[in-house]
Each structure stands twice: as structure tokens, then as C-alpha cells.
């Protein structure tokens, strides 16, 4: 079993998805049970994988037993396992919210959901650049279907932009991958890391061009400035559980940037060492600033939270751009927190929008919501988490980030941007909360009664995860620290992949 632990999280959602496709005419309750069971099992696998790699082991799975670099390998290290665990936990609560009926409002929700998880798990575990492209396509194809799920004109418009932009991005990804292969003759990331260090002088500019093109594509996926424009519209129009699941999507881009930056263009990369480094910090701070400004300027609650997702991508990249073990560790500790918080935000925004009649999530004074205080309370907790205020783990993450930034050349810029952006996010959410919950008047429009408990349980569950991350801050931060030091020592990764596997 342990031999196959590295591929199990990829195969499980694939098999579940195929099974759900075959069983599409079966009663929906059975399909829900199957989908839920697969996600719970995926969490179990992610925990097992995290436990297996926690002491620094790197699990290698050579597909078809072809040794690297000739075969395709899956590689599970601390970083992969950490992101996989985050994804699986997020998926559980997004799915629980969807089970309230959104999954039945269109076809194949569960199939697409499982394929999305398949793509995500594959992207985190693959050790091959072309495979990363393939898994990106898998998760994008599933996300197109999920985004358009149950239709509607605004959703179609947002979906068209999202699909066209990502297709163009995929083309650029292939150009970058093709150039790297043409120059270096390999696509295995560990092998690329070795070969890139020995790039002959006449090819250095080609490798640089390919590397920066790759960074551009990954920045599009991670919604970094100026390639973030697709995100607010797409996320604000997606149905709530889908938007919640999409909270992890920008993190796939960030994960890939971190992986490529530390492994292929790390300190040992000879003539192209630190290729991305000069770009990361300015882009990160600008993304953070624009995300926070967008949140203040948004006219709808869902768009506001979508802009906060952009800001969180900026915060995470700021942490990664510090390029120190402390900085990357701070980012990795903050990553699950911000993912869960954003997902909870989307779910609560949906619960609010459903109770305000035609106003939906527009930030105008409206009717008093049924269950005003309960929803308001949950919104408050989620807002605290989204902004990163104490006592929740977002504060710890930002604190770790700022502490890691001490002594960095950009210290003043980082301090100013992170703190002002947090303040702006605070102002934005405080204004939304007071508009929705305090400046309300009149009774709510007659809306079909919705069960408050089942609706608020998934976001509350996500908040419990955030609380757990706060309580277990010590072990979690230690794990993040160990992950960061593993990332900054790519020689072990390279040796594990190439050295006989």
C-alpha cells in the first residue's frame, strides 16, 4: 500500500468520477453518498500521505516502473502533501454545501467535482512539467463545466471570458514547455533542474525566455497582476460551492510558481539562477494592493470576496518572494487559512444573497434577513478570518510573514502594503457587514424557507478548521518550516527522483 500511496490520491477521484459517470441514471442520493465517500476517503489518503512524508521522506511513484527521467514520475514531498490535504478538506465542505440541492440543478455536478479533484491532486503530485500541463488542463476542463453549472446569462458571459483566457494561457504554457524541451531535452522537473545548471552560454537566453513565459502562464493561473482581471467576474458568478472550491485554484498557480522557482530556477541553477526572483516581489505587492482596492470598490459581496482572493494570492506570493525559509514557511502556514476563509466567505455570501430577494448580494441597504443574528455572527467570524485579525490563524500567518520580512531590502514596502491592504480589507468587510445587517429595514421578501442549520454548517466547519489551525499553530508552523527548508534544498528532491527512485 505504501508503495502506491503517492498515486492513490490521484486515482481515487478519477475512479470515483468515472463511476459517477456510469451511474448517472441512478438515484441522486446514491451518487451523493458515493461522491461524499470519495472525498472523505481522499482526506484519509491526504492525511496518510502527509504522515508518510512528514519526516522528510520523498515518495516517488514511477508510472509503469519506467525510471526517471525517461518515465513519468509522481513525487510526493511535504509541500505536495500539505496542499493536497488543504484541497481535500476544502472539497469536503464545498461538497457538503452543494449537497443541499445545487448539485441537482444541472447535470454531472459530482462527475465534474471529482474530475476537478483529480486534476488538482495530479497537479500537486506530478514531477513532470508536461504532466503539470495535462493536469492543469484536466482541472480547467472540469472547472469550465462547474463554472457554467446550472447556467444563466451572466454566468455564461463570465465563463466565456474565463475559458478563452485559459485556452490562450494553455497555448503559452505549451510554447514554454516546448522551448524548454527543445533546449534542455527533458521535461522531468528534477532532470530539468540538473540540466538547466549546465546550460551552454548560447542557449541561456532561450531558457530565460521559456522560464519567464512559464512564469507568465502560472501568474495567469494564480491571478497575479496584471493577469487577475478574469478572477472577480468568474468567481462572483460561479455558484457558491464551486466558488468555494475555486479558492484553491489560484493556489495551484502559486504552488507551481514556488515549485519552479525553488527547484528549477533555484540557487543551484547556474546561469539562470534566480530568474524569477526580481519579478516576484513587485508583482506580489502590486497584486495585494489591487486586490484590497478592488475589495473596497466592489458593489457586490461575492465580487468583494473574489477580490480578497486576489489579495490573498498577493500576500502568499509576497511570502514566497522573500525566498527565505522563514518567508516561505509563513506563506505555507497562511495558505490553508486563506483558502478556507475565502471559501467560507463565498458560502456565507450565498446564504445572504438567497435571503435578500432581488437585491441578492448587492451592497445596498435591504430588508432585515430572517435569521439576521445567526448569519451575521457567522459572517463576522468569517470576516475576521478573511482580514487576518487576531485571534484566528490569519493573524499568525501575517505576523510570521512580517517577521520574516524584517531585514529584507523591501521591508518598508512590504510592511506598508501588507498592513494597509489588511486595513482596506477590514474597512471593506466592515462596511458590507453594517450595510447588510445593521442598515436593514422592513421584513424580508417572501422567499422559500431555507434550512439555516444545513446552510451554515459548511462555512462553520471551515471556520473550525481555521480554529484548529490556530490551536495547532505550533505543529503546523513547524511543518511549514520543515517544508520550506526542504524546498530550499532541492538536491534531496533531485536525488530522490533521479537516484534510482
Amino acid at each position: 500500500m505504501t508503495d502506491h500511496l503517492a498515486i492513490a490520491p490521484v486515482l481515487l477521484p478519477l475512479l470515483a468520477g468515472v463511476l459517477l459517470l456510469l451511474l448517472r441514471r441512478v438515484d441522486i442520493r446514491l451518487r451523493r453518498l458515493l461522491s461524499l465517500g470519495a472525498v472523505v476517503l481522499e482526506i484519509g489518503l491526504a492525511i496518510a500521505l502527509t504522515a508518510a512524508v512528514a519526516d522528510g521522506d520523498i515518495l516517488i511513484y514511477a508510472l509503469g516502473d519506467w525510471p526517471a527521467p525517461y518515465g513519468i514520475v509522481l513525487v510526493a514531498d511535504r509541500l505536495s502533501a500539505w496542499l493536497l490535504l488543504t484541497t481535500a478538506l476544502l472539497a469536503l465542505f464545498a461538497l457538503l454545501y452543494a449537497l443541499r440541492g445545487i448539485d441537482a440543478s444541472g447535470r454531472h455536478f459530482h462527475v465534474l467535482f471529482q474530475f476537478q479533484l483529480f486534476g488538482l491532486a495530479g497537479a500537486f503530485l506530478t514531477g513532470d512539467l508536461f504532466n503539470l500541463f495535462v493536469f492543469f488542463e484536466v482541472l480547467l476542463i472540469a472547472s469550465y463545466g462547474l463554472l457554467l453549472h446550472s447556467g444563466g446569462a451572466p454566468r455564461t458571459r463570465a465563463g466565456l471570458h474565463y475559458v478563452v483566457l485559459n485556452l490562450a494561457g494553455s497555448t503559452l504554457f505549451l510554447f514554454a514547455v516546448g522551448t524548454l524541451y527543445g533546449v534542455l531535452g527533458s521535461l522531468n522537473m528534477a532532470d530539468l533542474a540538473v540540466k538547466v545548471a549546465a546550460t551552454p552560454a548560447e542557449n541561456v537566453s532561450l531558457v530565460r525566455a521559456a522560464g519567464l513565459l512559464l512564469f507568465g502562464v502560472l501568474a495567469l493561473k494564480a491571478a497575479l497582476l496584471p493577469l487577475h482581471l478574469w478572477l472577480p467576474a468568474a468567481y462572483a458568478e460561479a455558484s457558491a460551492p464551486v466558488a468555494a472550491l475555486f479558492a484553491i485554484m489560484t493556489k495551484v498557480g502559486l504552488y507551481s510558481i514556488l515549485r519552479v522557482d525553488t527547484l528549477i530556477f533555484g540557487a543551484g541553477a547556474g546561469p539562470v539562477a534566480g530568474l524569477l526572483a526580481p519579478w516576484l516581489m513587485p508583482v506580489a505587492l502590486a497584486t495585494l494592493a489591487v486586490g484590497a482596492l478592488g475589495a473596497v470598490a466592489s458593489r457586490g459581496l461575492r465580487a468583494q470576496i473574489a477580490y480578497l482572493v486576489v489579495a490573498s494570492a498577493g500576500t502568499l506570493l509576497t511570502a514566497f518572494a522573500l525566498a527565505s525559509a522563514d518567508g516561505i514557511a509563513a506563506g505555507l502556514y497562511y495558505l490553508p487559512h486563506t483558502t478556507f476563509a475565502a471559501a467560507a466567505g463565498f458560502l456565507i455570501a450565498d446564504a445572504i444573497a438567497a435571503r435578500r430577494g432581488e437585491l441578492a448580494d448587492r451592497l445596498d441597504p435591504g430588508p432585515t434577513l430572517p435569521g439576521n443574528r445567526v448569519i451575521g455572527g457567522v459572517f463576522f467570524v468569517a470576516a475576521v478570518a478573511l482580514v487576518g485579525l487576531p485571534p484566528l490563524s490569519g493573524f499568525l500567518g501575517k505576523f510570521l510573514l512580517l517577521r520574516a520580512a524584517l531585514g529584507h531590502a523591501w521591508l518598508a514596502g512590504i510592511l506598508a502594503t501588507v498592513l494597509v491592504a489588511s486595513l482596506l480589507a477590514l474597512i471593506a468587510l466592515a462596511r458590507s457587514g453594517s450595510l447588510i445587517f445593521y442598515r436593514s429595514h422592513g421584513p424580508a421578501p417572501a422567499a422559500p424557507a431555507r434550512a439555516l442549520a444545513t446552510e451554515l454548517a459548511p462555512p462553520l466547519g471551515l471556520m473550525l478548521l481555521v480554529a484548529a489551525l490556530t490551536v495547532a499553530a505550533g505543529p503546523a508552523a513547524e511543518y511549514a518550516q520543515a517544508t520550506a527548508s526542504q524546498l530550499l534544498e532541492p538536491s534531496r528532491y533531485i536525488h530522490a527522483v533521479l537516484g534510482g527512485g
Binding site: A153, G159, L167, Y181
Partner: protein
């Protein structure tokens, strides 16, 4: 032959970029298709242009073509084909639901 292929890829890419920046969905779909043709040829060329050799490493024949780009292109073609079909369906759906074929939904 290298110059010709490079020229073809360049022209395809240029046309693809131009068309995908147009305001209506049909040229955009065509542009994305041209871009995917260009990238497929590009990937293929990255294995170097070899004529008359099998993509199999065998002892008597000293030279062989690089099989990997061919496999990559095959994957890229399949994905590109599926995506083109999907984006055409989406464009038709947008035409039906938004009442026009402008990319941003406003004539």
C-alpha cells in the same frame, strides 16, 4: 525546411493572436484554433526536423527521430480538439443567451 516551418509557425501565431483579440466570438474561436495549430507544429519541431528515420531507437539504424515530441503533440492535439469543441458550444450558448455574439456580451 527549418526556415519554412519557422515562417509557418510565426504566421499562424500572428494570425491567431490577431484573431483572438477580435470582438466577436467566431474570430476568437478561429484565433484560438490557429494558435493551437501553431503550438502543435512548434512542439513537433522541438524534437528537431528529421526525415527518413523511425522514431524508434534500434541498433542497425544509427539515427532516429525523437519520439517524445510526437507523443506530446498527440496529447496536445487531443486536448486542443476537445477545447475547441467546448469553446464552440460555449460561444453558441452565449449567442443564444446574451442575444449577440460579442465577447463581452454587449453589441
Amino acid at each position: 525546411m527549418e526556415a519554412l516551418l519557422a515562417l509557418v509557425i510565426g504566421v499562424l501565431t500572428a494570425c491567431g493572436v490577431y484573431l483572438s483579440l477580435r470582438g466577436r466570438t467566431f474570430p476568437v474561436v478561429l484565433g484560438l484554433t490557429l494558435l493551437s495549430y501553431a503550438v502543435n507544429l512548434f512542439l513537433f519541431a522541438m524534437g528537431r526536423l528529421v526525415i527518413g528515420h523511425p522514431p524508434i531507437v534500434s541498433e542497425p539504424a544509427a539515427a532516429s527521430a525523437d519520439p517524445l515530441p510526437q507523443a506530446l503533440v498527440l496529447t496536445a492535439i487531443v486536448i486542443g480538439f476537445a477545447m475547441t469543441a467546448f469553446v464552440i458550444m460555449l460561444a453558441l450558448k452565449a449567442r443564444a443567451e446574451l442575444g449577440n455574439d460579442h465577447v463581452d456580451g454587449r453589441p
